[in-house]
Symmetry: D2
Subunit: 311 residues, 4 copies
Amino acid sequence: MQLGLIGLGKMGGNMRDRIRAAGHEVIGYDPRPEVTDVDSLEALAAALTPPRTVWVMVPSGEITRNTIKALAEVLEPGDLVIDGGNSRYTDDGPHAALLGERGIHFVDCGVSGGVWGKENGYGLMAGGAPEDIERAMPIFDALRPEGPREEGFAHAGPVGAGHFAKMVHNGVEYGLMQAYAEGYELLQAAELVENVPAVLRAWSRGTVVRSWLLDLLVRALAEDPELAKLEAYVEDSGEGRWTIEEAITHAVPLPVISAALFARFASRQESSPAMRAVAALRHQFGGHAVRFAAGPSGAPGQTAGPSGPTP
Amino acid sequence: MQLGLIGLGKMGGNMRDRIRAAGHEVIGYDPRPEVTDVDSLEALAAALTPPRTVWVMVPSGEITRNTIKALAEVLEPGDLVIDGGNSRYTDDGPHAALLGERGIHFVDCGVSGGVWGKENGYGLMAGGAPEDIERAMPIFDALRPEGPREEGFAHAGPVGAGHFAKMVHNGVEYGLMQAYAEGYELLQAAELVENVPAVLRAWSRGTVVRSWLLDLLVRALAEDPELAKLEAYVEDSGEGRWTIEEAITHAVPLPVISAALFARFASRQESSPAMRAVAALRHQFGGHAVRFAAGPSGAPGQTAGPSGPTP
Amino acid sequence: MQLGLIGLGKMGGNMRDRIRAAGHEVIGYDPRPEVTDVDSLEALAAALTPPRTVWVMVPSGEITRNTIKALAEVLEPGDLVIDGGNSRYTDDGPHAALLGERGIHFVDCGVSGGVWGKENGYGLMAGGAPEDIERAMPIFDALRPEGPREEGFAHAGPVGAGHFAKMVHNGVEYGLMQAYAEGYELLQAAELVENVPAVLRAWSRGTVVRSWLLDLLVRALAEDPELAKLEAYVEDSGEGRWTIEEAITHAVPLPVISAALFARFASRQESSPAMRAVAALRHQFGGHAVRFAAGPSGAPGQTAGPSGPTP
Amino acid sequence: MQLGLIGLGKMGGNMRDRIRAAGHEVIGYDPRPEVTDVDSLEALAAALTPPRTVWVMVPSGEITRNTIKALAEVLEPGDLVIDGGNSRYTDDGPHAALLGERGIHFVDCGVSGGVWGKENGYGLMAGGAPEDIERAMPIFDALRPEGPREEGFAHAGPVGAGHFAKMVHNGVEYGLMQAYAEGYELLQAAELVENVPAVLRAWSRGTVVRSWLLDLLVRALAEDPELAKLEAYVEDSGEGRWTIEEAITHAVPLPVISAALFARFASRQESSPAMRAVAALRHQFGGHAVRFAAGPSGAPGQTAGPSGPTP
């Protein structure tokens, strides 16, 4: 079938390649002249035969919002817009309503797989009306991994359900990553295991913890066995935060996913105010060792107080 | 090669089958006449040609300890004992020393894979002297999954390192399981996703969170879509606790793995004393809704107090 | 001075008494005829000499919002409204703007102390313009505990800062309550300490952990030494959730406060879907003991599977 | 009464002063000539009239163990030894047994209050036989704060119960400190509250969160409003770790106390291996921003990769 694809960055560009490789016609639009197939959204609309299907793959928030608005102008009743970016699911209803006023259909689709998806296929979770999902199915089939459709694609529910499922997917991902990372650190710290990368590699097959994330960690350790080239500084990209916020809304306890998110927050702090407060309390007790911040000379901070019995 | 195998339960029995299928001779011993190949440990020793290799696959703790002691009596200098059970790594040194006094070699080996290992192969992490590891390699090769040896087997380090690696493996497993479980619960609770099992199944390929544990959860949901047949009651089997204790020894923060362990503890409580204490505090504030325990009549507990502004 | 007070529930009624005891004139309004001093908001406005000061002490959200709107109708330019309820701080800006259009001033004030405040005084955190704070100071002085003003009252910042400070106060409260509760449970569980209530009571003076919350727990244990009369069921009232949401907005790690909130969520679950999912995974491993839910006969759930080595 | 006191450091020296101020005779021993009253343990024993009472106030572990052993040599049947240090409760049984072989009695006593105890009195939790507790009561009364005995002293149970109660006390303390610290950080981060120290000071009276720890934090902020003089580096002193280990033994969930302990562990890490592992995973995804460690030139680390949609 024919697809308009907006956003030809790392994700969108790869997806264009994969969809084309499956035999579909893709007309891509991107503001960067060196990658785009057409010069404008208007040109994109003109190049597509109605009823059109247009996949939006741009950063979530402002840019997605503006793109949806612009599409409401250039598309026509009966066309279909799919937001495949990482939009918060609460954006989907308004986007569907905005397009719906013009008779344009809307589907949201969470896409997982990163740069590896071009080759492996992408895991897809879509939300929308059954007939809209059905209409885009050739594209979903092109993007998803080979194998049974239901192992790489789900029609999760009505508009918003796709992005909701993707949000939870990413929350789970935070927890999984932190679990492996904690295990890695403990193996390193104990110093009984002589070859930590080898142990993680041996978990690749047969064990209970085997997974794609483990495969990536094994890869990373093969490239840098001590993980010495990277700082212990970890960003987060929205979905983890949204997951906790949803959990709070629904009174669902998420101790593991929240701990993983907070570990990322803490990793980015130069000097934790909370831990300075705990140090200050210990200092007030009297007799507890604390570290004073370095003076203007840059001399290392000093330690005060012998460790006596704890109050 | 020839192997003595002690313990023919679910794990040991399957392992015997797999090792035999790889062309080795296995003589198994188990106290249950219906599964054993020989009548006693003495008979096992007599049936094996020196230098013998004997794999112990019995419950950790007391039973493993007694088995090792008994082997120290019936084996001879130059023989090799492999403890493949879930012993705490701190038991390995004493076991190696006990056997070493008799000139008997010792290797510890963590084995992962459960009942699935018979078909898929087992992930193996071994600790011991290089020459002892080398000697047992045909057995390790028989047990581990097909594919490159280093993806299913590691010589982790000296005696104890195998069980240490397995302990951490299981700690990571706790974190992974809890992460998926939290995601499952949030998907259920929000009610936007109409078919939660379908979404989890769609994570099976292409996504970042794909894993063997996910495959098992998909299987479980296929059998019981609401997970209504099971109680929210989760046991733990030692390794998770030991992992936290090791982390404390080495001052390694394990927020995720500990949260997963504590969630299991909490799942087994009829009535949490801590949460009764929090309820009691709220009751003392005055004006906060709390629930009184049911009286002897079995009548449902009553709620007291309208919810006013929180103090 | 003269004060209008809207809302004469447990908190408002006590506050009326305390303010009157300090020598001020309080005219209270409440929809319940048996407690109100006037029949309507209009009557309240008529009974107060301009420029009026009106304290709102009603449930947060809808009811506070409606009260503010009604006050915008009946009050006049130059009057002052103080919201002393547990409003989310994000409501304060809109309320101030709504009143501001009519020339009516606004102050938000977090109030802590519960039913004990009538006798002990209330801790107060106010947000607003300095001149508005100054104007209401006689009331703040009447409500706050005796002693230095700054130990029971703070002008926290502009509009919203009072409720923000109160929100964080309540978040901290969640963490403190859970910390005592965990200690209580461990003392109980270990069974080495023979008289747990006596130990907690001995913490009342001299120790590092002495506090008003501890005093309340000691009181509760004096009334019910096993805390047997209460269910392990703990509600939460908004501020704890808002605290976590703010932390997420500002990327502040709150492992303790979030753990305390999630423990409350979990306390209210009949059967945790997450823990059923973990149990289901363990059941899939094969050989792990799990508990099946009771059948329709009400027979107790059964346990399946001997505990073999953990996969 | 007459008391021998071993260990005249910050705690022991203050305790000697307080006990003497209550009218008792204290003969102190310390290896430092400038503070000791006698030259040796033998001289201490000789200076005390049988039956003797000797209070040991030295660092826990090795030094306490050696002191107990030495006392077993120099004391006589019918004497009483009180260990007031921060020994792990599991040490108490062996110490009691060692002394018991010589007919010497033993009591363990947890002491809380730090340097403030000299003036305020110390919170005391004692374990031992009722008659031994009774015998030492004049000393306990001298040490504990004024007011009802049971608000500053508890006979917690048999030998070990005093140190167990003190261990849990310190675990609770970790949770409380972290709760305040998290609240402090959030108040700082949000920047809506203009004067954070003033808000914390206003919590001192009337609020639900008022406590002695809060008073200390207010003091610390008065001295250093930004807590800029201290590093975010917090040690831990054993009891917190033991508390978690006990919780694991008794399957008691301690999410808050463990989170507080792990926050301290993390505060002391230059570069968290776990968070480097998470960063490495994100780097493997492709397209995620990570920070590379500084090169040998000391140049600041670089950031790689634009933030595209999260896999």
